[in-house]
Symmetry: D2
Subunit: 355 residues, 4 copies
Amino acid sequence: MFLNREISAMLNVAIVGASGYTGLELIRLLDRHPGVVISCVTSEQSAGKRISDIFPTLRGRCDLVLEPLNPSAIAARADLIFTALPHQAAMKVVPDFLAAGKKVVDLSADYRLHDPAVYGAWYEPHLNPELLPEAVFGLPELRRETIRKARLVANPGCYPTSVILGLKPLLENALIDITAIIADSKSGTSGAGRSAKVDSLYCEVNDSFKAYGVGGAHRHTPEIEQELSELAGQPVTITFTPHLVPMDRGILSTIYATPNRPVTTEELVSLYADTYKDEPFVRPLPKGQFPSTAFVRGSNFCDIGITLDSRTNRIVVVSAIDNLVKGASGQAIQNMNLICGFPETSGLEGLAIFP
Amino acid sequence: MFLNREISAMLNVAIVGASGYTGLELIRLLDRHPGVVISCVTSEQSAGKRISDIFPTLRGRCDLVLEPLNPSAIAARADLIFTALPHQAAMKVVPDFLAAGKKVVDLSADYRLHDPAVYGAWYEPHLNPELLPEAVFGLPELRRETIRKARLVANPGCYPTSVILGLKPLLENALIDITAIIADSKSGTSGAGRSAKVDSLYCEVNDSFKAYGVGGAHRHTPEIEQELSELAGQPVTITFTPHLVPMDRGILSTIYATPNRPVTTEELVSLYADTYKDEPFVRPLPKGQFPSTAFVRGSNFCDIGITLDSRTNRIVVVSAIDNLVKGASGQAIQNMNLICGFPETSGLEGLAIFP
Amino acid sequence: MFLNREISAMLNVAIVGASGYTGLELIRLLDRHPGVVISCVTSEQSAGKRISDIFPTLRGRCDLVLEPLNPSAIAARADLIFTALPHQAAMKVVPDFLAAGKKVVDLSADYRLHDPAVYGAWYEPHLNPELLPEAVFGLPELRRETIRKARLVANPGCYPTSVILGLKPLLENALIDITAIIADSKSGTSGAGRSAKVDSLYCEVNDSFKAYGVGGAHRHTPEIEQELSELAGQPVTITFTPHLVPMDRGILSTIYATPNRPVTTEELVSLYADTYKDEPFVRPLPKGQFPSTAFVRGSNFCDIGITLDSRTNRIVVVSAIDNLVKGASGQAIQNMNLICGFPETSGLEGLAIFP
Amino acid sequence: MFLNREISAMLNVAIVGASGYTGLELIRLLDRHPGVVISCVTSEQSAGKRISDIFPTLRGRCDLVLEPLNPSAIAARADLIFTALPHQAAMKVVPDFLAAGKKVVDLSADYRLHDPAVYGAWYEPHLNPELLPEAVFGLPELRRETIRKARLVANPGCYPTSVILGLKPLLENALIDITAIIADSKSGTSGAGRSAKVDSLYCEVNDSFKAYGVGGAHRHTPEIEQELSELAGQPVTITFTPHLVPMDRGILSTIYATPNRPVTTEELVSLYADTYKDEPFVRPLPKGQFPSTAFVRGSNFCDIGITLDSRTNRIVVVSAIDNLVKGASGQAIQNMNLICGFPETSGLEGLAIFP
């Protein structure tokens, strides 16, 4: 706990936008990190309240008062800043933190896309496109060493994390037809955030299942394609359909691909085992086993199963993460660990909670 | 209600296997049917108990005593029999009912496949393959007139209903590449039935999402392919992945297909509207709208949305049904209505219950 | 369905505030009523949209356009008006409907309390206290004949319905100490309505259980006490604690009372069976059986179990209703049936939906 | 993690009955304990399988093979044994472990009741009543020092933990009428365990709420009364009603008591704050705040709110725990920490997971 640590040797971090679910999850995970102190939490809407009044889970353990978002005041008290703001809001403050010499792990979408035109097409015009070349898309399994040296890490979206990790071995080995990839993804409701919307009400979501953003409309699409293209070494487009599951946490992506040469399930399972054998947070599963979101709930793991449907000669990959952990706050801490020289797993060792 | 009806003019039906969820759903729906009396309910496990002790929803409204499965005793008191038994169990009694001159709507998988070899490959050897040529796959939207004349209707599986209705307009108009169809389906937990299994426990299912039968292993696959092939006029195989959703009822199928000529979303929406314009229970949705299982819960509707993902030139169809109604008991009653000359919608007019 | 009815002989009803859950439930139930046509639906927020765009369950079955709340325009086209508005809003329009000679079933709290001072103490000052003496608290099991003659029925709250029906036999027979009644009630989330509030978000409610209004703060308290006092013939106060259950529908009240003379469980069970033997919607349970909200879901039933805890000489009553049906819209239709001379059960015959 | 620890200095513990939910929760929590190694896990049903095949959450982190229950083999490899068996099964092996000189924390009901006659009346005849005087009812907030010296700790039931902690300040200060206590408790479904029963199926529990053991029939009643009596210094009986909530984890008890002298809410809040001010795992809440199970989910906290309902002069206490943590495995580890001289909070520092 905070009080038992030697404060002087600790990294001070700020959480900007702490009153949402990813903000809370950062606090929950950092509370177990031996080298970090949370020095500052902000919230525009709840400034002046204790964070533990917003989230009573924190009572007696993190009773910091939420502050308004004053970049210079925050930069003065933090070595690294997590920005857990909506897109468009993050890019208004990130430059200030960088100018003050701070490291930033941004959980919004604002720095994930390299091409400002693509950002503009899917979101709105970018306010500081000059930062995009420098920002590192923070998926450690793809570019761990680059992240270590980064000043600004763009933390990947939840859907992209599940899809990219699911396809990495196939693409970097050029095993599939890159024009025929389909990702059918399903997310828990915390992905919609903590804002008051009728669509997110309990009675609208419970005992219900639906697709949304059908037909390539979801904003995670360009992010997925950017990274898949880099893995493939050529432009990849995919059909991506997100769905809403009546559960709090978890993303499961069922990914379909067509092999471009004869393969067997055994070969595929072996390829995944080999690719991820040294990864602390990716668990490729044995033949015939497939993941459940329940078994990664609350943890930073990504579980992946793979098979060949030999009747139709189609590869099916199933990957599962906790959208708030490996899909957001856990991965952000993994990135912080890389940037700041902590062991990569610090604060992230917790097992999944089941049931 | 039962007591207000003129009993003499009513159709007597038996429900064989009434202590499961589809059995109960038959009772719930038939209770509102103006032309039917339930004369007999059976259950091996619960014989001797009142059905309302098993399902207290029925208290005071259907207090029949469950009987053991004695085919001749049942045939003596029923004009039509719903067999809501596990596969393999149904085929042991259906011939008796037919021999006694009765009509049968079988909710199991036993009579759905025309080819006994296919049945044997996916299930076990068939005990009465001679009945397969006569059995009618009971999807009214495909063969209403044939069903009217049937003695034995094989009520379609829940997943197949959602997938076949979702693809019918595309296949019968030869609009898609029949080698590239993928159906990613998600089902509520009532599809697993009411037997005591660890995998179906509340704590195993709640706040969890998983795939199963991955790689073409689910037994509904041949049934789907048989009907799609008939619609296409040539053999169709598909990649089919079922998933388990933490909800009671509902199936949503997200279906991917590749057009074999240029099409627009408008054209597709119009095609679906036209195909289903006279169907009482299929609701094609306007452009940009997609279904939710919540909006068909408890009803016999199948809602279908369609779009073209123009970025990848792929058609995405989303169809939703209540697995216990249009996916089982409601469709069984629709078939009964056709067989017995009732209005097709009798007993099935109820709106979905939301929330 | 609407189209099959002889319109001329039908009762025209309006639903004011149709875009909430009780409004939708009125439509769902009235759709099955043989003597009613919905002529008008209103919503301030959604005026101009089709009700079936708000609630896609209604697609093709009730596609009325929502209108703004114009009392005279509504009165011109309806014989009876259901006001499903928040408290304070109802009392602004109900007098207009009455002045136009219409019957009103008000689902808000505005006319439930006889004493304007009590209303003022728990809500705000009443705008038309002169109507309170005339308004009838619409619990048919307490005053069926009075309701038949009413112009203005105040439809009871959901919690009060479950508590009052649970205690009626004990109080009217003076069997319990009226100073020691405790009602511990639990409600599904639809009771919180369809407005966008953080507290009602899926992720705030799911996998969670809490009390609220602890210590006698809930506004249903005076309503419960008013009716219990009338049953007892003397002033009754009770300790009432509501709780929020992670489910859509249902209220279960566990009620504790101290007998004022020796009683047995058998005697109590028999008393309840006798009291409610002619009630179409109250099902007293046999000894040893207790209700579940699942078994009344979607139906107008109130199931009640009772026992004596002989170790502590305390009576425990457990009552269950669907808060949207017997606790709101179903009871409103039951009241409409009484007022308008329909069979009391018309439109309300549907069995509970399970699972 | 296990690998980073100096194994020689570690405490070896065995988990007997590891394939249930409390067994898994012990593993999840002990995985974070710096001084413990799990040397042995047993399961009769799953002997020979890896525990991580039963619970894939453990993949790569705890892959021990489940063993059959051989007491001498277990005693040879463990310093302390957690017995997570059904009642009646625990008492068959606990004497063996004690005879081998081991410490035991028993999570069953077998050693909680001091009086063998009471045990016999609520369960079955006790096989080793001679151990009952020695067994310590392991609620650290009641008898921390006694637990430190114990050889056999009877870990309290989940309901009793929530009720006893909720009433302790009132009873030890003789503030309430001990004949008028009512505890209305609500539990998540994991309390029913992981055995395959129809009543625990997802579809039976979801969107449903019910009472059970109504009228003083639940076996936790004598355990509660034993401890309340000890706190009060005289025999206490209570009315206790458990309920089943559609959620995985959590118990919330709403407790009603009658003050025996005038009190105020402020006085009560202050009393609770004072009583529990040094307790690491009890969080008394400020005036006007009440707990939710969501805010203790996955943590060892017990949150308690209290108020006086001044209208009826009744005290209402609301307490919340996670039934698998403070109500079972967390408390067992807290007891282990006391017995073995670890800091009391070791392994239990994790914050609640929300949402």
